[in-house]
């Protein structure tokens, strides 16, 4: 009686059923990473099994700063944005002026909802006049599709289809050159170019290399179709053998990015779609991204709200770099004014080997960190053998990045 005509499910849909057996699938590089995973120290990156560390968290960090470190960025969310209106579409969504982004260039950007609250930050690659790749921490397909109403543009997620690697560190250029990526020295910071790979000079197996990274160091990011991922890995590892190339996990990268003063969505601020508590929402000016906003480019999402918040002085928070006395990392410490008034929270902290300073990124309630920068303190609870050592340490607001390495932008890149 209840039988309704049966339709066969699409075979692709049926084939995908089995995903429940693998809750944390690997990336296209997983066979290589698994082979190198001595610590078996995994974490969940956007649903993927990603290494927290592979062999030694500390030494992995030093691989970034003194050799070349290879880090799998495949789990990063990637969208292909293509069409005659792609530039206009992205200009409406993001804060920066996309018209100023030339083909073959990348910029770091962010995007907001109507209220001017940050949905995410990410990198925008202009691969051609009408083709872009938007990379971000979180997923935004409904937002991007709804934003595309009225624009001639295709938005497609390509996270699984495109594998990505970050090759970072002083010898990274030399590794690429030795791996046969001819003319890679021409890439200036934020440049992109395509290179032949797997015997193909064009078509689907080409590698897109950008001189970008998340370490504040000389470095590159490489994108390749998933099916050519392993050969790319092998090509780099082989070429880098004598240049000290090492695969690394996230813990090392996280240190490098903190030294570089870079922020991470849902670590240093809560993205708007995930903020259940309204007071966790942040405007660009409240997380140090105010510099991106380009009011000359016409309308963009959140523009009215941002203009109004600035005009009415409704910005409530500020994200600052702190230098803290002593050497005990102040991870998640409360920030106080005059040791008594609670004014904020540290979201990331470490002893910086490169700066030889105890650094942190903190979110403070204005005017603290904005007009009042003196007499700030952090309360560090250092767990030592089952006891908290409670320390009240003086904190100084300092500019980010905490370290500045000339080799990051040197042209041509140095051959270490």
């Amino acid at each position: 009686m209840n039988q309704q005509p049966a339709i066969a499910p699409s075979t692709a849909r049926a084939a995908a059923q089995s995903h429940f057996r693998t809750l944390r699938p690997g990336t296209p590089f997983q066979p290589r990473i698994d082979a190198l995973a001595r610590t078996n120290d995994w974490y969940n990156w956007a649903g993927y099994r990603a290494p927290h560390s592979l062999w030694d968290e500390e030494l992995e960090y030093f691989a970034i700063r003194s050799q070349a470190a290879l880090f799998d960025i495949s789990p990063m969310t990637k969208y292909r944005v293509e069409g005659p209106d792609a530039e206009a579409f992205l200009n409406r969504i993001t804060l920066r002026d996309v018209a100023k982004l030339k083909p073959g260039r990348v910029h770091y950007t962010a995007w907001c909802d109507d209220e001017g609250f940050v949905l995410d930050d990410g990198t925008l690659f202009r691969l051609s006049p009408t083709r872009f790749r938007l990379c971000s921490q979180e997923r935004h397909l409904p937002w991007l599709l709804d934003s595309a109403i009225g624009f001639e543009v295709i938005v497609e997620e390509e996270t699984e289809a495109v594998a990505g690697l970050a090759l970072q560190g002083p010898t990274s250029f030399a590794v690429l050159r030795d791996a046969g990526f001819a003319d890679v020295e021409r890439l200036k910071i934020f440049d992109i170019a395509e290179f032949p790979h797997d015997g193909s000079s064009q078509g689907t197996s080409r590698v897109t290399i950008s001189r970008t990274g998340f370490t504040g160091d000389l470095g590159y990011e490489l994108f390749v179709p998933a099916e050519h991922a392993l050969s790319l890995w092998d090509r780099l590892m082989l070429a880098g053998e004598l240049r000290g190339i090492r695969a690394i996990g996230y813990a090392a990268l996280n240190r490098a990015r903190l030294e570089a003063g870079l922020i991470v969505a849902n670590a240093d601020f809560v993205t708007a779609v995930h903020a259940v508590r309204p007071n966790r929402l942040r405007m660009p000016d409240e997380i140090g991204l105010g510099f991106m906003i380009d009011f000359d480019k016409g309308h963009f999402n959140g523009r009215r709200a941002i203009v109004s918040a600035r005009a009415k002085k409704r910005l409530r928070h500020v994200l600052v770099g702190l230098e803290i006395e002593g050497n005990i990392p102040a991870e998640h410490a409360m920030v106080y004014y005059r040791k008594s008034q609670e004014v904020g929270l540290v979201s990331a902290a470490m002893w910086s080997p490169m700066a030889k300073r105890n650094i942190a990124i903190a979110s403070l309630a204005r005017p603290f960190g904005d007009t009042i920068v003196d007499d700030l303190w952090v309360e560090i609870y250092a767990m030592r053998e089952l006891q908290y050592q409670k320390l009240m340490k003086r904190a100084k607001v300092v500019p980010r990045p905490f370290i500045k390495l000339d080799r990051r932008t040197a042209n041509p890149p140095a051959d270490f």
Partner: protein
């Protein structure tokens, strides 16, 4: 002759919660229960040898953890086991599963729509925000907006402040949310029919409304406000069946010195000079009490147990107009083996969760159209669980108990009372639907109990078999529940209180009405309430 401090009519979960709190405040409390067992609609009954049936309510989530702790229910045997999954079977031989793991959930939805898979986060955020607004209201007595007593003003102010604490966007969403249909609400987030059907079912369970009826978005909220040990919105099985909840309550009550009399049906409440003085049982026996609390629904209490002349006309009119609509039935089945669903991989966690067969909004709504026309649904909506996949205590080894909650079942069939033939026809619609997805299902059936609104009303005493003791529409929520002017657990009769699901915050095995009523009673008696935990913080 003995006069109890309080007599609680009805040993359902709210009656027992109420009795426990009163007893622990030092009162001498008697619970009188019509059936030979306590539990009301939260029972585990051995209806065929070796099988325990959760024959009314069948899953647990809403029961307030504050009450579990206050009344030491784990010590008396209560343990809740969370579901491992759930699914809606689709007519094309596939299914849409719900997995606990966030990423598995997303990947599963992406099988049908990548957009919907990613839309879930915003949906979850918005629903969570609404839950956080409502949740603290569950354990509070609703204010009377027409009263200018400081307490009501204070509560109104609390509500107002909570509301004003929302952003303008949230306020607007809250106002819309309370009046929207779940179908329209879901349309604003999702594009795929089966995805919508998957979420919409929480908007209709227990109500006499279809997913396209305004107000069903709120019903969804009502089902999302629960938790399993801090996992908000999760559902689970009570180990040993839902009777474990009321058994633990009864044991807790008795351990604190309370008295339960089963097989004691109340004929009426004795009222002298406008004050409740006790109850008279069907047997004619009179029991004296200083106050009486009724766990029965508001209609049963005031239209059957209290004489009309004791009640003001306007109150009676409103009680008569209170809508308790039978809309659901149960088919409880003992199985000699675990049924197979060819669509479902054998190792799927979905077996250990809730399963459904209604894969479109239209099918769900059409099932409701049948109810409106006075028929049971030809293509019913089922909420089907096999608790024995997680709780081996409910059936002999290797055998299984299956509970099917069925919508819609009208209180009357084409205007007439349910007959046995109707009941069998109703059961057949359920078995036929399951069999469509599980060949050979019939052959596994060892025993079956079919409960239409007729059976539920007769046994449990729920008017029309309505599981919420009254519809959860706005006209019957908060200060309107059960009736305006009497939304604070008191009645026009001094010393007669209400503590059932007819009162705020409504139905489901939640316990909050019983607890809130106890707080009001103890406040009237100027007794301390230190033994009652305040509502858990929502931070």
């Amino acid at each position: 002759m003995k006069s109890w401090d309080a007599i609680v009519i009805g040993g359902g979960h709210n009656g027992l919660v109420n009795a426990c709190y009163l007893q622990r405040a030092g009162l001498d409390v008697l619970v009188v229960e019509k059936n030979g067992w306590v539990g009301g609609a939260a029972t585990s009954r051995e209806l065929t040898p070796g099988f325990l049936y959760s024959n009314c309510s069948y899953v647990c989530s809403l029961f307030r953890p504050e009450i579990m702790r206050d009344l030491e229910l784990p010590r008396f045997g209560l343990q809740v086991i969370a579901y491992e999954g759930g699914a809606v079977f689709t007519r094309d031989g596939d299914y849409l599963a719900n997995y606990r793991d966030h990423d598995a959930h997303r990947r599963e939805f992406a099988r049908f729509s990548r957009r919907d898979a990613e839309a879930y986060d915003r949906y979850a955020r918005d629903v969570t925000r609404q839950c956080r607004f409502i949740q603290p209201l569950l354990m509070r007595t609703a204010p009377d907006p027409t009263s200018f007593r400081p307490r009501d003003l204070g509560e109104l102010l609390y509500l107002g402040k909570k509301f004003a604490g929302l952003s303008a966007e949230e306020m607007a969403l809250t106002l819309r949310f309370w009046t929207m249909s779940i179908s329209d609400f879901l349309d604003e987030y999702f594009e795929t029919d089966v995805v919508k059907a998957n979420f919409a079912l929480s908007g209709i369970i227990g109500t006499a409304l279809g997913p396209m009826s305004p107000g069903t978005a709120y019903v969804l909220l009502h089902h999302y406000m629960g938790e399993v040990d801090g996992s908000v919105g999760a559902w689970g099985y009570a180990r040993g069946g839902m009777g474990a909840v009321t058994q633990a309550l009864a044991a807790s009550f008795e351990a604190s010195g309370g008295t339960i009399r089963t097989g004691a049906e109340v004929d009426h409440v004795t009222i002298r000079r406008g004050k409740a003085r006790g109850v008279v049982l069907a047997s004619g026996e009179e029991i004296h009490g200083k106050l009486v609390v009724s766990n029965a629904d508001v209609k049963r209490t005031f239209l059957k147990l209290v004489e009309e002349r004791e009640l003001p006309d306007i109150f009676l009119r409103r009680v008569r107009n209170f809508r308790i609509r039978g809309s659901s039935g149960k088919v409880n089945i003992a199985l000699d083996s675990l049924p197979e669903f060819p669509a479902l991989p054998k190792d799927s966690p979905v077996y250990r969760g809730d399963m459904h067969f209604t894969d479109s909004m239209e099918r769900m709504e059409r099932a409701y159209d049948d109810w409106k026309a006075g028929r049971w649904s030809a293509d019913p909506f089922l909420d089907m669980v096999i608790p024995t996949t997680l709780d081996p205590t409910m059936a002999p080894s290797g055998k299984h108990f299956m509970s099917c909650f069925v919508q819609y079942a009208p209180p009357k069939v084409n205007g007439g009372d349910w007959t046995d033939a109707d009941r069998d026809g109703f059961a057949e619609s359920v078995i036929a639907q399951i069999s469509d997805y599980s060949p050979g299902f019939r052959n596994r059936i060892v025993h079956m109990e079919v409960r239409t609104p007729r059976e539920i009303e007769a046994e449990v005493g729920l008017t029309e078999g309505n599981i919420f003791q009254g519809e959860l529409t706005f006209d019957q929520l908060l200060f309107n529940r059960p009736v305006p002017g009497y939304a604070q657990y008191r009645s026009p009769v001094a010393g007669l209180y209400m503590c059932g699901s007819s009162t705020h915050p409504g139905g489901g095995v939640m316990g909050a009405p019983g607890r809130n009523a106890a707080a009001e009673i103890l406040s009237d008696l100027a007794k301390p309430t230190k033994h009652m935990s305040p509502a858990h913080d929502v931070i």
